[in-house]
Subunit: 362 residues, 2 copies
């Protein structure tokens, strides 16, 4: 009996090729197409997705291959949700707040103005119901989300003129998407949405007066320090969660080992992206405060912050009245947020306060 | 040709059994013994190690089995480092500061008084050289460490009498190990070390006046709220890193897929343990502030904190003079810590300050 006949007689198909391999795994290869909402070359985020693909390859002994496509290579940057929902692609790396037009509640999974920070979002997702709610709502679109990174606290943005009081915000054209943009609108700002690649020129030419992006990590790569002198800290995205989301039916048809590998590798990527944002923010902030650029670093004035707090409460309540899904997720957040914030304020924040002066690194 | 003859003719051994399995992986099973420095049943930490073992099983399709042994089941709680170094066991879940008797520098991998918090330690380990230094020093003991969890900020401890000024610390017998204990000694405290299981009785009977443990998450399970009325926040362990460490030769002989699986699963466990500490701290702190127990929650007075800051600087400098390894790790920390702390203070800490009142969760 030759090999082909033996295999047929033994009733085995694909897995049989493992007989002639030296590694532990069968050589049947599953390939998944994952599209990004940003370029593959974008530091930290695009590079994080490429790292994820490499990791899955290692973990699966080459039996699961993730093919990464940058924004607009296969589908448009913001077409990834629909394409994946329909099964045209298998997964995507993006941010849940991009899809609030489909369901307002999705905005809450990215973090929101004056909301939870990374260390508070982790237990909310893992143990307090956040992930269950996210998966329940995404299941309606045949999608299965995983956490795909956290940017950490995002900077308030770059301004061509200084903001000395709330009055200075009125009438400013600012590139700021999501709930942060809605808050800004209530402060008199005119929020506009411009694709990443066009922001620099718009700011340089004065088509816009201000823009937010991420933080020192990525902003200085965009070159904003050359065209806007005032750089403000912020509260609009206190810890933005990214997503690595898969077509649910496709995911569920994977062998359970591959499902576990995707879960483990996304969690690693999630942690790694946050860690690298922290690292790059530390390094790039040094450039800014060292005087390498002609940039003034500062905080928004108190009246801006207080007006913004009032605005976000109004907005969250209005959305809760408009959308049952939003109300459900927001109620869950309201049951956990005060508890975790009390912990944050009691020890982690207190520690940062007392560490602030006279310690080993001064 | 019958099956046995075919397999022989094909020149394949172990991997051949994969032909008749339904999962993707070969059925050759590698087994590793991992011992803990705490009971398997210890919430968050012991349970985290059990979760790790289950995860490795799922990721490897059952081809890599981690057998978890609680403290003293196979080797003594603090005998795991030596046992693993010699190859008597394959891995251990513990904390690097337990081994400062072997090399003082190890204490620095756990975090130290007034040092980095979890979100600062992550980039230090991943990108600023921390992990490389740890692996370099552990390699001398034939060990390969991975991050194995972070407790987050630890509470200063439980005291039978209130601490109103530095004078109240003098002469107190306190259970506090590590560099925190050395700082306390310079404030006039008599630090003692008592096994976990004996602390409650010692505190109840007044053999000791105070003890630290972890935080609300685990302390209330120990019952300290019944025998000490004053519970203080702290600075002695601002973000203690746990370790999941393997025998280096054994690890290096594993197939690369299994190496990747251990790396991914430890990273998942690391993130999960921190997330669960945050969750449990949030819940258990509620019990304390709700008046469920007769406990006064407070901060150490300023003169205690300032004296402690001075003490840790002295201690770190003294160790640097005594140990080249300590000096090398400390120099690396001193090159990164100011940069990441500047970022922490500029935005994450500022955000917590301005979020503090009038927001959605009040």
């Amino acid at each position: 009996m030759n090999r082909r006949k033996f295999l047929k007689a033994a009733g085995v198909g694909v897995a049989a090729s493992a007989v002639f391999t030296t590694n532990l795994y069968a050589k049947s290869v599953t390939r998944l197409k994952v599209c990004l909402s940003w370029p593959k070359t974008l530091p930290i985020m695009g590079e994080g997705a490429l790292w994820f693909a490499k990791r899955v390859d290692e973990l699966s002994g080459g039996s699961l291959k993730i093919h990464i496509y940058g924004a607009n290579e296969l589908v448009p940057a913001l077409g990834v949700f629909d394409a994946c929902s329909k099964g045209l692609i298998d997964g995507f790396h993006s941010g849940p707040y991009y899809w609030k037009g489909k369901n307002m509640a999705f905005a809450l999974f990215s973090s929101f103005p004056f909301g939870m920070v990374a260390d508070e979002l982790e237990p909310w997702f893992d143990f307090a119901g956040g992930m269950d709610l996210w998966r329940e709502l995404y299941a309606r679109y045949n999608l299965m989300p995983f956490k795909g990174g956290n940017t950490g606290n995002q900077m308030g943005g770059w301004f061509r003129k200084p903001i000395k009081s709330l009055a200075d915000m009125k009438g400013l054209k600012m590139r700021i998407p999501g709930l942060g943009g809605e808050v800004m609108a209530r402060l008199g700002v005119k929020p506009v949405n411009i694709p990443g690649g066009e922001i620099y020129t718009a700011l340089e030419r004065g088509v816009i007066d201000a823009t937010e992006w991420v933080g020192p990590s990525l902003d200085t790569i965009m070159g904003f320090q050359k065209v806007a002198r005032y750089y403000y800290t912020g509260w609009h995205e206190p810890g933005s969660i990214l997503e690595m989301t898969f077509n649910k039916k496709k995911y569920e048809r994977l062998p359970k080992e591959h499902q576990a590998i995707i879960e483990a590798a996304t969690r690693e990527m999630h942690a790694r992206i946050f860690s690298e944002f922290q690292y790059q923010n530390a390094l790039k902030l040094q450039d800014i405060i060292s005087g390498k650029y002609d940039v003034k670093l500062g905080n928004f004035p108190d009246d801006v912050n207080e007006a913004a707090k009032k605005a976000i409460i109004e907005i969250l309540n209005e959305y809760s009245n408009k959308s049952k899904d939003f109300a459900k997720v927001y109620e869950n957040i309201k049951s956990f947020f005060p508890k975790i914030r009390k912990w944050t304020d009691t020890l982690p924040k207190w520690y940062l306060d007392i560490r602030d002066s006279g310690t080993i690194v001064d």
